[in-house]
Symmetry: C2
Subunit: 385 residues, 2 copies
Amino acid sequence: MLNFSFENQTRIHFGEGQISAITNEIPRDAKVLVVYGGGSIKNNGVYDQVISALKDHTWFEFSGIEPNPLYDTLMKAQALIKEHDIDYLLAVGGGSVVDGSKFIAAAALYAGDDPWDIVAKQQKVESALPIGVVLTLPATGSETNIGAVVTRDGNKLPFMSSAVRPQFAVLDPAVTLSLSERQISNGVVDAFIHTMEQYLTYSVNAKVQDRFAEGLLQTLIEEGPKALLAESKDDLEVRGNIMWSATMALNGLIGAGVPQDWSTHMIGHELTGTYGIDHARTLSIVLPAVMKVRQQDKHEKLLQYAQRVWHISEGNEEQQIVQAIQLTENFFQSMGMPIRLSDVKLGESDVDVLLEKLELHGMVALGEKQQVTLPVSRQILTTAL
Amino acid sequence: MLNFSFENQTRIHFGEGQISAITNEIPRDAKVLVVYGGGSIKNNGVYDQVISALKDHTWFEFSGIEPNPLYDTLMKAQALIKEHDIDYLLAVGGGSVVDGSKFIAAAALYAGDDPWDIVAKQQKVESALPIGVVLTLPATGSETNIGAVVTRDGNKLPFMSSAVRPQFAVLDPAVTLSLSERQISNGVVDAFIHTMEQYLTYSVNAKVQDRFAEGLLQTLIEEGPKALLAESKDDLEVRGNIMWSATMALNGLIGAGVPQDWSTHMIGHELTGTYGIDHARTLSIVLPAVMKVRQQDKHEKLLQYAQRVWHISEGNEEQQIVQAIQLTENFFQSMGMPIRLSDVKLGESDVDVLLEKLELHGMVALGEKQQVTLPVSRQILTTAL
């Protein structure tokens, strides 16, 4: 395995009824800004639970964070923070609300002129307001990690800083029961692909990390479809297993000491930035094509994936790999996801647009060995047509 | 899965050459006490690396921590701490040195009259000196967790406090190359049994935790024997996989949200306290007997263990379980461990002595459902004869 440093200081409170834990997690004298999205938390009881837990705190609220949170929206929170001297953010929502809160927290204490530089120029974030999270949509892992993605003018760009790692995260599987099928599908597939991007590279004989990743993949394959079926969709054990998988998929643990390949995400970001396609639905389109185009480079891990995750033993190595890619596509489709650009009504002319965006954003050497150059990205997108 | 809260704030620096990381981990103005054991670190280069990393720090040293660290030894450090106004402990060693340092750290700031009350009366530890760790023997997981075990007058007793969780831990697999075969065997089997005690209970459908535990067990089964073979014992990848498995086995992660059964450890502690048998060698004797005596209670997880960890598919369920227990014993023996009381020259008369010790220490209702009463412990020890 490769040398690594790892830490994850976020405290987790997992299970039904755990929202009440925020009472003791947030200092009693804090001035709290509750940050949320479109208001669904007011219909599913989450808002009421949060307010009840904060009844002895001073708090304000900022809503309207959209999926793929927009810079302009997030900057509107700054006036509120100054006006009320806010010193704690409580993000109540999914990955977009958490990511948005991270940017708000960093921008509030940013010493430079323009907070957009945090993503556009990758300016280092030295400090940020403390953040707590009540997660409502298991998917991105943002609730315990240091990353966030922000969008402006069709540019969807990431930043990372340990200053924005949440202090605590409440994971109550019961709050996910009110999610739509599409949200569940997106979440399961997003977590699956986060795992794949830290796993499907080349072997460095990191047996623990490999087996942890395989365990997450198997769990998501088993539990994901159950969360869509009438007879099991309200099963809290299923929801709990999905929720914990999604957090573990991107808390840094399975990626510590192994090579990583985030090319699927980077290409996917251009699909979202340009055409507004749901994040996870861009990934389910791009990953199968990455597996096919880079089959030689990833041969060893693809074979391990076929044998350990899908328990394929028939056929020669290449046949096993082809079968595993097919089963991956079947899994995505069983979750109601698109697996081709044509599934989202895009075609050859769009490939050129996407290539230009990749070039514009400097995404010219992606992947575990920086081998995904623009021509390789073109091949991937063409394979995904 | 069960509700849980989880945190682990220890920063990990993993890999060859990482001892140098302590330079920046310990505040430059700290007065550091370097705590170690019998001096093996002076022969294998670890001491020199530590000293080199601390060349701009003020530091003192306290050596002589024995395996199963003794209260009287640990209390000797207190005078040194007062004399030099020590405010940071650096534990350099295996689980005993780390556990001993945790007790030293807690005793230094203990507000009560007698620090022995921390273990004897389970007095709450509210604060402790900060601790850093350079781990030399992968086994106990103490380097990132909140537990420690201390021995006095043949009584080996645990305490837990988040105040003693190390701030950081350096895990350099290269420093384990100088360990004896016995130390390696003990470490691998200790980590294996830590995992089993959080896994082999009853199912709460915690798929992630189960698969992570199975991944650790499989890794230890694969890598443990290689660390003893002439052709692979110096393989740093093998050592690295063992080291990371041992840390992950008891950092709280696989035990979060699942029932636990620490009866093997509690019975084993009496064997060490009374007869001075190596900790891990008590576990390899007790665990197989626990598996046999509690086969009905643990049927479901024993079967899962047989099928997923040992890939057993032939025979009926009971036959698969019996085979898995046999393979577990074979694994312990391949690691050079005893699996019966007779292997360490103990017999029926000793069972009475051990039962008295268990009663004395209040160990009268052990296990995941408190069903391991003294008669059941007798049955376990008799089965282990």
